[in-house]
Amino acid sequence: MTGPENTETRDGDQALEILLGRLLRAGVLAAASVVALGGVFLLLAHGGSTPDYGAFVGARTALRSIGGILAEAVALKPDGIAQTGLLLLIATPVLRVALSLFGFARQRDWLYVVLTLVVLTVLTAGLAGWQP
């Protein structure tokens, strides 16, 4: 049996994990609040309309990029606000990975700093609108 290595490192891991767990929950709650707010506006503005989602058209172009989504939210468009909440939700695990980068760096665990950077690169590429 391979014994547990440095206990100090593991305790550091545990403290970091608890912090990251709290961050995730706060991010989800913040995102859900913004989505709910946008949802109320959506229902008030379009509640009576009869949209057809049977054929794929896709979200309108402004709601497909970070810049566009934020601009629509600032303009107080209901779907822009809801989409901003969804964007916050997607960003939450990305932020979690970014913070564990600092945790590994503080432990001078360079192997995991590199692995975390790889994951972070893949995540930010997708969010930044890179289309493979």
């Binding site: 994990e17 767990g21 794929f56």
Partner: protein, 278 residues
Amino acid sequence: MSYVVLASILCAGSLVAGFLGALTGLGGGVVIIPLMTLALGIDIRYAVGASLISVIATSSGAAAAYVREGFTNIRIGMFLEVATTLGAVAGAVVAGHVSTGVLAVIFGLVLFSSALQSFRGAHDVGGADSSSPSAVRLRLPGHYPLEGSRQAYGVAGVAPGFALMVVAGGLSGLLGIGSGAVKVLAMDRIMRIPFKVSTTTSNFMIGVTAAASAGIYVGRGYVVPELAMPVMLGVLGGSLLGSRMLVATHSSILRRIFAWVIIVLSAEMIYNGLVGKI
């Protein structure tokens, strides 16, 4: 159907899906997509987008409770996230090039196998007695709380486990599901990581995996706020309720019933995909 009625149905259905998903451990996404496509006639690409969003919400919401117990292994999680995120990007790319019928058939098959797996129930093969050299080099072995002390465990099968994780990520990106069943299979059966460590670490990874393809989905217009809003809020509310009741109910009977529901849904998805109705 007016939008307010559609949103109410979606929210209520997602609430039930999230609730049952948390109680049975099968996840909410598996019922959302059949509900949207089969029952409401929504294009599967919208359904996949909304489902993926709800997967991030439930995974991230539940992770906070799990990590406190000290079972999550952050190094195993990060190492395997390299595999799942790359797989997720590949899955999202493939999703853009296959027909909706093919997507429906693949979804049905994955649904069917995850239901079958759930019939076998929880099984603890126990941790590996010794670690492979590559696992030691990657500092994957850890320990978890057991009766007041810490029980050390080894990790084996790093390369095949990593490969299966690429597949798990691919399915997640292709179908907008958490694919927690495949993740646990890779960690529990192949890497011989203790069951409780596998399930909690898997949950920790699901949100990150889903986020990798979610950005691509947004860029393609798969994520429509009108549909993702009621689904996300419903699933999140349902899963929070479900995780609170987890201890109080007889989840094994419920698990069986839910697994049968999933088998019926998977057959419907495969049939509709084959005849070109989706």
